[in-house]
């Protein structure tokens, strides 16, 4: 036991003396959560519009005012002719142009149909489709308010309720994702680097020729990072509650336990990476390419898994992060308990055991 604590003490000394690793450990989580929380978002705000109003009557004025009043759009300029539409897009000044046909107001009353053309800049398809949806819904609500249209006799009315995230805040989606990324990064990359550093600096040779058992070395390496990762998880949850107002609807205790399970999974992956890489460089590259990319792309963090092609969907099943994100979203946003998450938990636990077993098998008690 004294051997073990001596080893852990040494590890903490390594971590706290290396500014780079300290930065990754504590700077990254805060930086990432801030970035994803504030800067990187799927919502649109203050999109610049141009208006080409060939009618200029009361109706079009009302519609324009309504659009201008919404926080989503700001009207950048008014155009005078159709020939100005193309240049204004090329300059990149606006994301969309609204084109009211001549005699808009009159046509709306008699024959009851008036047309608005929405032209959008689809170089960014997400923004383009969001913009057109928002405009469509503003127009629809305008119609309902004014009741100028006679409602047809039969009508399907869709009443939409957004559960768990009624305001569709993207930070709700990013917090579980960022938490997953950070825990993975800290646990897997940092442990694999710290183990390979011993190999690279030749100290592994001395550790091997010592009474320390391989298990003691590995546990000693891993222990500080369990501790630090838990600290990170707490920082992320606290930031997301108090800075971004993301709720934790479920049990904090369950969230803590599940996070520890995921930390252990990542550490096991880190150990596995260290057994196959000889240098810190390799360990870092393998961690980044082999872990970070799947975590970001294939875990459902940013891109929904259900809309991926089947082969990628299958691959996503073996990405541990996918299961953890389901768990975190379940606890934080849906507020569900273990009864709903036991399957994901079991899968994560199984993966962890598999990784530990594999790295134990691959761990070398000699140099070759």
């Amino acid at each position: 036991m004294k051997r073990f604590t001596g080893f852990v003490l040494k590890e903490f000394r390594h971590i706290f003396r290396d500014r780079r690793s300290l930065f990754i450990l504590f700077g990254m989580p805060v930086a990432q959560i801030m970035l994803f929380g504030f800067a990187i978002t799927n919502e649109i705000n203050n999109v610049d519009l141009a208006i080409l109003d060939r009618s200029k009557d009361d109706t079009t004025k009302e519609i324009i005012n309504k659009i201008a009043a919404s926080e989503y759009f700001s009207i950048e300029q008014f155009l005078d002719s159709e020939s100005e539409i193309a240049p204004v897009f090329r300059k990149g000044k606006v994301k969309a142009v609204l084109y009211f046909e001549p005699d808009f107001g009159k046509k709306l009353i008699q024959p009851g149909r008036a047309k608005i053309q929405v032209v959008t800049d689809a170089t960014d398809p997400n923004v383009a489709s969001t913009v057109s949806n928002y405009i469509a819904s503003i127009l629809q609500s305008y119609q309902q308010e004014t009741r100028r249209v006679v409602e047809p006799e039969y009508q399907v009315v869709s009443e939409v309720r957004m559960l768990y995230n009624p305001e569709l805040k993207s930070v709700y989606m990013f917090v579980p994702g960022v938490m997953t990324v950070i825990l993975m990064l800290v646990s897997a990359m940092m442990t694999s680097i710290s183990i390979t550093r011993e190999k690279e600096q030749g100290t592994m040779e001395i550790l091997l020729v010592s009474p320390l058992k391989p298990l003691q070395v590995i546990l000693g390496k891993v222990f500080p990072y369990v501790f630090l990762s838990i600290t990170n998880a707490v920082v992320i949850v606290v930031l997301s509650i108090f800075v971004f107002g993301v709720p934790v609807n479920g049990s904090l205790f369950l969230l803590a336990l599940e996070s520890i399970l995921f930390i252990v999974t990542s550490l096991a992956l880190g150990i596995l990476i260290s057994t196959i890489s000889a240098t810190q460089q390799t360990a870092m590259m393998v961690s980044l390419m082999g872990l970070m990319l799947p975590v970001i792309l294939l875990s459902g963090f940013i891109f929904p898994i259900s809309s991926m092609p089947l082969p990628l969907q299958l691959i996503s099943h073996i990405v541990p992060a996918k299961w953890f994100i389901v768990i975190v979203k379940g606890i934080m946003l849906k507020g569900v308990g273990f009864a709903y998450l036991w399957k994901e938990t079991l899968i994560l636990a199984g993966m962890t055991l598999f990784f530990i077993g594999l790295s134990a098998k691959k761990y070398k008690i000699r140099l070759e």
Binding site: K10, R13, G202, T203, E205, I206, V209, S210, P211
Partner: protein, 301 residues
């Protein structure tokens, strides 16, 4: 017997790193493995410290088999690899403390053993190991390898890259450790250090050329050896190599060591030959062979 090596073979692909190596080291002996880089010294060390498995053959260290009794050996040997292998970001004291802890002992418990060495670096105990000079690094590494009072100490080229004064001090320390009944196996590419060992094995290309005491190895040198000097070293070597009766010609400090093929060598004849080739200030004198001469003779293809 503290170390017994019996017909060890080890190859990396096509290269025979160790080719039928056998030797024995008595308890408390200072045994030197002498040979150039690539002779197989490090591979041999790694096999004896259980870091590598031999392809064939067996070896025992402190009575334990290097393949089967891995854990026992790891408790009882001290190992100092060729490359400085301590934690550069830990201080001198923290390094020593760490190695004491993982061997289940304390600095205080074995302080008497490392005292002579450690007092020299103790003034710098709060300095990070990475910031030490080469000589101090070696002293720290030796202290760390000794802190658990090993029965056998393996030192792989401990003085490579160390200044001459520190090298001398280092060997004096080894001599003192020997008195404390620690068996030491040390490797070095420096022939002058070989003379300080009790027994030496000359190694080249994975083979042991000869094993004996340094004195006996020198005594067995088969030929009279002459040191030759002249005003122009380069021209002298070239001219000697062109002399029809030359056996071997090696630069040795400010002289050239020369041996002749004939038993009735006449230095006057060589002098005339050299003078005829525009050499002046010629000096020819018989000299005692050194370990280096022996090595060169044995290593001659």
């Amino acid at each position: 017997m503290s170390i017994q090596v019996h017909e060890i073979y080890k190859s990396y692909g096509q290269v025979n790193a160790l080719d039928n190596i056998s030797f024995e080291v008595k308890s408390g002996e200072l045994f030197g493995l002498i040979g150039p880089d690539g002779a197989g010294k490090t591979t041999l060390f790694r096999i004896l410290t259980t870091l590598l498995l031999p392809d064939r053959g067996n070896a025992r260290v402190a009575g334990y088999d290097v393949v089967r009794d891995l854990n026992a050996i790891r408790r009882h040997v001290g190992y100092m690899p060729g490359r400085f292998s301590l934690y550069q970001d830990l201080t001198v004291e923290e390094n020593l403390e760490f190695f004491a802890t993982i061997f289940g002992t304390t600095i205080a418990e074995n302080y008497d053993l490392i005292k002579d060495i450690y007092v020299q670096i103790e003034p710098f105990k709060d300095r990070r190991a990475g910031k030490l000079s080469g000589g101090m690094k070696q002293k720290l590494a030796l202290s760390c390898a000794l802190i658990h009072r090993p029965k056998v100490l393996f030192l792989d080229e401990p003085t490579t890259g160390v200044d001459p004064v520190s090298r001398k001090e280092f060997w004096e320390m080894l001599k003192r450790l020997q008195e404390k009944d620690i068996t030491i196996l040390v490797s070095t590419p420096y022939m002058d250090e070989a003379a300080l060992c009790d027994q030496i094995a000359l190694m080249q290309d994975g083979k042991i050329l000869e094993i004996d005491t340094p004195e006996a190895i020198v005594r067995h040198y088969p030929k009279p050896i002459y040191k030759v000097g002249a005003h122009d070293m380069y021209l002298l070597i070239e001219t000697l190599k062109a002399y029809p009766h030359r056996h071997s010609v090696y630069p040795f400090g400010e002289y050239v060591h020369y041996t002749d093929t004939r038993m009735d060598f006449d230095s006057g004849e060589l002098q005339t030959f050299l003078e005829a080739h525009n050499l002046s200030e010629i000096h020819i004198e018989e000299t005692a062979p050194t370990i280096e001469d022996t090595f060169m003779e044995l290593a001659k293809p």
